[in-house]
Symmetry: C2
Subunit: 300 residues, 2 copies
């Protein structure tokens, strides 16, 4: 049932995974991705790649392309008609060793139904253990440039979407400094499939240069046990977001997705301290105070 | 709006919290519970108590009694009419220091609506890092004895309910060796409110002798870094259960419950290793093989 578009998109995502893994290995300088190939009994499969290196404590770069009859509960959850589906994409989370390097997440994905309905989705967001406003500005500026090349309406809309999505309601905190998030990008007045795909490709290709620079700039910054302790607490928050609020994670776990591939997003270790309080005026307090929606990081 | 029953139940739960804390402090021999009193803006509040001790790495014993108008989304979720509600209970999770001591959870609770509808709920379940069949038998035998004193149908039904409830679908694993779980115990052919309350009291009062004995019997057992590493991985599974599947946790976080009180259940630290494999025939492999529903621990 694959048409040319599907083959091209799948082929592209596989190549993107390869490119990103190569660049992350180079940035790490030591670790190598280990690959698990897996098949989905009902159709399709994936390539899960994990690196445990020098600068990247635990990094996952997943590719998958799954297809087959859509289970009823899934079609209900997505609000689409019954039929055959294809879902493919690349999904990334990197947990750095040095607490001064931020955690990053990127995802690009494509979904199609046998009735012809299709859409792209994805996003990138940054979760610094310690927020550095210059770094957040650099990050958002890069995202905005990519967005603006495709549609001036993209960045404002997708930046807001990320603020709303990467939000821990039970903590009243954003996960980090946000980024962009988008879903169900389909045919519209201004965009056809080629135009949507071109945008998604640029988002995917932005990831490696963006993050390898963040590694490069911060991997040798000094830290002590204090910063490591804070990193473990912030990783706890990352776990909370992914397991409590992240729709993709919940959807995957609830619909029989491959657990180890989905949960590669969890950090190597995380701590919880009851009612942890930060010292007023400390870098930790400053970071907490900036975990807010609707911050204009570019002009800040 | 409080009637005698409500006052009596709340008073009882407060006293239960006091008794349990005293016995846990004694078993720990070093740590003392620290208490946070909190109020719920819309009505009621609680006493959250946390101990970080010698044998108990992190233990929480919460009491709460909240009341007020029932938010619409809550009444929908519970399938009850709109109106005022009261929810009160004691909720406990203990994460031991020694990996040979099991994690334990206990909860007893009472719920009432202004239209007169009421029910009790609760349960106890045990999560050994290393399953010891004798210990599991002792644990289930004690639960069965309490159940049998009130209704011979309780233990089989509530044991099965626990197997189904404390289950990580995405891992195809039970959380531990189970225990008992029950909810919406109300008026029935064989039980009135006094009878249900008497059962719940006995469950609550079983907790301290049961767990202090498990501490006593296992706190001096030898362990190495290997057992500690396994404990951190099993604590990761505990986090997964609580954040992904536990209805009480999700309900609390989603309806504006006090986050720090709800998440006292999380361990002090947890680790995740991608696709971790146990050595065939090892104690870890044996434990994994026993994380199954419908094990008859008493006769095993």
């Amino acid at each position: 049932m694959m048409d040319t578009d599907q083959k091209e998109i799948i082929h592209y995502f596989k190549g993107l995974q390869d490119d990103i893994c190569r660049q992350l290995e180079q940035a790490d300088g030591k670790g190598r991705f280990e690959e698990d190939l897996w098949e989905r009994p009902a159709g399709g499969g994936g390539r899960t790649r994990i690196l445990q290196g020098r600068h990247i404590a635990k990094g996952g770069v997943n590719f998958s392309a799954v297809h087959g009859p859509m289970p009823e509960r899934v079609s209900k959850a997505l609000g689409v008609e019954a039929g055959d589906f294809l879902a493919t994409g690349v999904s990334i989370v990197q947990h750095p060793a040095n607490p001064m390097v931020p955690i990053i997440h990127m995802n690009v994905r494509y979904f199609e139904m046998s009735n012809g309905q299709w859409w792209f989705g994805g996003g990138i967001d940054l979760t610094p253990h310690y927020i550095d406003q210059q770094q957040a500005k650099y990050f958002h500026q890069a995202l905005k440039e990519v967005c603006d090349r495709h549609d001036p309406a993209y960045y404002p809309a997708f930046k807001k979407w990320a603020d709303d999505y990467f939000f821990l309601k039970h903590r009243d905190e954003t996960r980090g400094v946000g980024g962009i998030f988008f879903d169900r990008l389909s045919d519209s007045e201004h965009h056809d499939k080629a135009s949507r795909f071109a945008f998604v490709r640029e988002v995917g290709e932005l990831f490696a240069p963006l993050y390898t620079r963040l590694i490069e700039d911060n991997k040798d910054r000094a830290y002590t046990e204090r910063e490591l302790a804070w990193q473990r607490l912030r990783r706890g928050r990352y776990v909370e977001f992914n397991l409590v609020w992240d729709k993709g994670t919940k959807f995957g776990l609830d619909t029989g997705g491959r657990t180890e591939s989905i949960l590669m997003s969890l950090p190597p270790e995380a701590n919880w301290v009851y009612d942890h309080q930060v010292e007023p005026g400390s870098p930790e307090a400053q970071t907490l105070s900036m975990l807010r929606k609707d911050v204009d990081w570019i002009s800040a």
